[in-house]
Symmetry: C2
Subunit: 258 residues, 2 copies
């Protein structure tokens, strides 16, 4: 397939790589040139900063930019693209389809549920893709996602917002728990990697049982002495202390509701 | 070595298995009989509910019970054990050495940094062990831990409290983030395992870069529109909403302090 990617950030770069690996014909546009250099060097695909240089006969145009820039890039694309009825999709978890459907008849969403870092390679076949659109759009996006991943699901904008929220807890907030842990460990000059076997096991457990069933720790044991003593260790770190309090309270609530 | 374990919970069971795998002579005591049955069946080691039946010449007595029961079991052991100067250690992250040192001259701590679930096997050689004690105690506990794991560290009670707090954030609270994620996903009838590639990648990232550097998501991007929209999706779930607010605030703080 002939695919145009608009954007050159983390998600865009990974999609460009995934599409190239799947032998698609990939063209990448970005407003500024510098992030394009790494992409064109690695993937040897066409890159441009001039939206008028994009092919007008691509099977799909994938807008992969910051959430609040989707609308602007969609306007730019629609004002330039001379072809009728292009398939145009964005990759933003929390942006609804409507942002595109005002500009394009064949608008869609192409959302990969993964955390992308520029320099870290990924096995794309395991990444779940959530696609949205009607008629020709959903078929094109399903086909495209299917060349990259074994896990392709259809999902509405409303549902995707919930999915995105769930992923913020499962990924972004857990990562911040690691950041807090690292900060606490720095007080006793212990490197964070001492935690890696523990956090790997925590993950292995939720892969085989539900998170509520695999919950351990002072709150799960309702050990209020330890909870209080740990709260007092956080004295002076207001946010961390309040997070500790809320987590402990909620762990106990979930346990009793299970 | 001849090792007595007092307790038959998650940690005690795993230690019994680890010590048996390392070919030590293991005897397990527990107040109630039922958890002992599974241990004696699996490991074919001696188990008893009568503390007077424990050998008096063991190289170490490891008390592995709930934090608030350590003192009680220590009293029971000290009133029964006729041998002089036994090496006695507990396995509790948040209990200081002093709880034992009133009863035993050779008191110590033998703390494995891991989350233990009864039916889940583990590679013990990767588990970090933190030991504390003086003279003969530290030598015995170091030797014992060294037969099980490649990662043995000496650490004071004060430092261990900090370590334990850090592990609560890295393990227990991340697990609760998974539980919240699962609850949110249940609203759209999506199973939690759709998140597994994402959370595996989150972990892989912190194994290669610092948690602060690997932070992604709406708060890391300071995308206040998405933050506000996700906060409103949590309307009616007070604790989750407040956790969302505090996490987002703190992610931004850490980013600016990095």
């Amino acid at each position: 397939m002939k695919i145009c990617i608009l954007g050159a950030g983390n998600v865009a770069s990974h999609l460009a790589r995934a599409f190239c690996q799947a032998n698609h014909d990939v063209v990448v546009w970005n407003r500024s040139e510098s992030p394009l250099l790494a992409i064109s060097e690695e993937l040897q695909c066409r890159c441009t900063t001039d939206v008028r240089e994009l092919p007008t006969d691509a099977d799909a145009y994938i807008i992969s930019v910051k959430d609040d820039a989707v609308r602007r890039v969609a306007e730019l694309l629609s004002s330039t693209l001379s072809c009728t009825k292009p398939v145009v999709a964005h990759t933003a978890g929390s942006v609804s389809l409507e942002v595109l459907s005002g500009h394009f008849e064949n608008a869609g969403v192409f959302y990969p549920l993964q955390t992308f870092s520029k320099d870290k390679s990924l096995n794309y076949s395991e990444v779940p893709f959530f696609v949205e659109g009607s008629g020709v759009v959903i078929k094109t996006l399903r086909d495209l996602a299917g060349t990259v991943s074994e896990h392709v699901y259809e999902m509405s904008s409303e549902q995707r917002k919930i999915l995105h929220l769930a992923s913020v807890f499962a990924c972004n907030f857990t990562n911040h728990c690691y950041a807090i842990s690292e900060k606490i460990l720095s007080e006793i000059s212990i490197p964070f990697n001492v935690m890696l076997p523990l956090i790997r096991e925590t993950l292995d457990k939720v892969a085989t049982m539900t998170p509520v069933k695999s919950q351990t720790g002072p709150a799960a044991r309702e050990d209020y002495d330890v909870i209080e003593s740990q709260m007092s260790l956080l004295e002076g770190n207001e946010v961390e202390q309040e997070l500790y309090r809320l987590f402990s309270k909620n762990i106990i609530t979930y346990k009793h509701n299970d």
